[in-house]
Subunit: 309 residues, 2 copies
């Protein structure tokens, strides 16, 4: 039971006026057959949850509001036939996906060349994007009225040698000029519009046509928006292009690229902007297919490369 005091020796000296043995008793409830990892993760989760509650002296009304919030988050998932992942969105606005991405992909190098920073995958990547020819376009449904076609190109390199990586796969997806991905916009977009995979040439180079990206708002009709409102935050993501660059011999890089003049760059509502992902779109002349140019080079670490931990 919570207050029998038998676990008192294991608990740290309390800094509060509540039962000093309670949290350890809950953690000690984890049974002998839990895996070591589950024991570690659940023990730490319980400890932080309790420490949080005592620290702010969480009220019964606030706890109940949290219970209703969790129910509402998953209710939308069910009501949308499991297509609207509101729990993913809530974790994003709390910075959790961005943090977990850093934990998974942090590489600190000693050398002069750093791998391209990773950023969050988000909910709109598709495993079904088709391969397209180098020099092709991902704009399948015509250029929208306010769309600005951009020629994007660059080189994919190995951070340990500086040499190009032939045949690396460059997967790109982006929202249209109305701020919506094909999934969200079936009236205006066919499947795989603004998606495509390109295989780099023998010099590690890729090039194709896409749109200058458009800033957009997270949905403002669900629990995530309610949470943003109580924090007095806006729901905007800066304009961005999603990319996922892979090669069998290298650690893949999933990330997002941001125009340097975007007004939401410093207040991204999902905290996914990093300095090396900010880039300049430049006016392009002499190409009748595009009005802008974006050069972005991607640096990958070989598989097994650990860097400086």
């Amino acid at each position: 039971m919570a207050t029998n005091g038998t676990n008192g020796g294991e608990a740290p000296k309390p800094t509060h006026r509540f039962d000093p043995n309670f949290t350890q008793a809950v953690i000690d409830g984890i049974g002998p057959n839990a895996t070591p990892r589950n024991r570690l993760v659940m023990g730490a989760l319980i400890r932080h949850l309790h420490d949080f509650s005592r620290e702010v002296e969480l009220t019964i009304d606030e706890w109940m509001a949290g219970v209703h919030f969790v129910n509402a988050v998953g209710k939308i998932y069910g009501d949308s036939k499991q297509t609207r992942n509101e729990a993913h969105r809530v974790s994003d606005i709390l910075g959790l996906e961005s943090l977990v991405d850093e934990i998974a992909h942090k590489i600190v190098t000693d050398g002069e060349m750093d791998p391209t920073s990773s950023s969050i995958l988000g909910p709109f990547w598709s495993p079904n994007a088709p391969f397209r020819e180098l020099g092709g376009t991902i704009i399948q449904d015509g250029v929208p009225p306010n769309g600005r076609v951009t020629k994007m190109h660059g080189v994919i390199r190995d951070i340990t040698t500086g040499k190009p990586i032939p045949n690396a796969v460059f997967d790109i997806w982006q929202a249209s000029a109305n701020g919506k991905y094909d999934f969200q916009d079936p009236d205006n977009q066919t499947p795989n519009n603004l998606r495509g995979k390109f295989r780099a040439d023998e010099n590690g180079k890729y090039w194709f046509y896409c749109l200058h990206p458009t800033a957009y708002s997270l949905p403002t009709d669900g629990p995530a928006w309610g949470l943003l409102q109580i924090m007095d935050r806006h729901p905007m993501r800066p304009a961005h292009i999603h990319i996922m660059v892979t090669h069998p011999e290298f650690q893949g890089c999933t990330t997002q690229l941001y125009p340097s003049d975007d007004p939401w760059l410093t207040t991204d509502t999902v905290f996914a902007v990093k300095p090396d992902l900010i880039c300049n779109f430049k006016p392009l002349e002499g190409d009748d297919k595009a009005v802008l140019e974006l050069e972005y080079n991607v640096n990958l670490a070989p598989k097994g490369y650990k860097g400086k931990l």
Copy 2:
């Protein structure tokens, strides 16, 4: 953005290898119009969530499992037409409701008489329970085959004077011998079976008939059960009687009473047992309506009584 370093001066010295400015940047995203309380609660929630994630180096698969878990919890709420409150249950098995109850109701006295400990309300209290006559019974649908009728009685007292509190209201609710409350068991129980309110007499005394309570399992078909399984824990609650004792001039006491011989007493899956709530059911002779007797006296603090903080 997350890594621009402008908030570095406010963050504590990092004890990890990750961006030391990230968490403070997310907290600093809370806008100027958030209420002071929302700023405090959400700031602490973000800090503990991030500290937990870094401490265990939460993997992307684990984060995604958490996202799916939250969606599944609320999906059951929606699918059950909002009658099955799985988020409440999950917070209970993590000890959160019991902790929040302690935070709300902790009274430390200097005197010899302590107020009766509070315990969690749980999801089965009803605002519609009828008043019944002193000496009446809450067993409305007949005694179930394995039910043991108990005469319950006691005195409700003021902790500051030791004197009885006339007219205090004693609200009781309990599961039947099959472990189910009326809400959960419409085929066997009519509404308000095993519920009732009694008004104490001029000597602060109450008495009525109820059942010896029965231990029961939380549901084993949802996300809460999945969480218990990864922690290698059982789903059992010890047998208990819920009571809520109120009077306009006193701080109400919502709590649960447990038979001292219950096998689940020391491992209650919602951590709601406290020493002064454990009581002895004794054989009763000379009363043809009951085979057991339970005496339980309840002590209330006057409104405004703060105790020793």
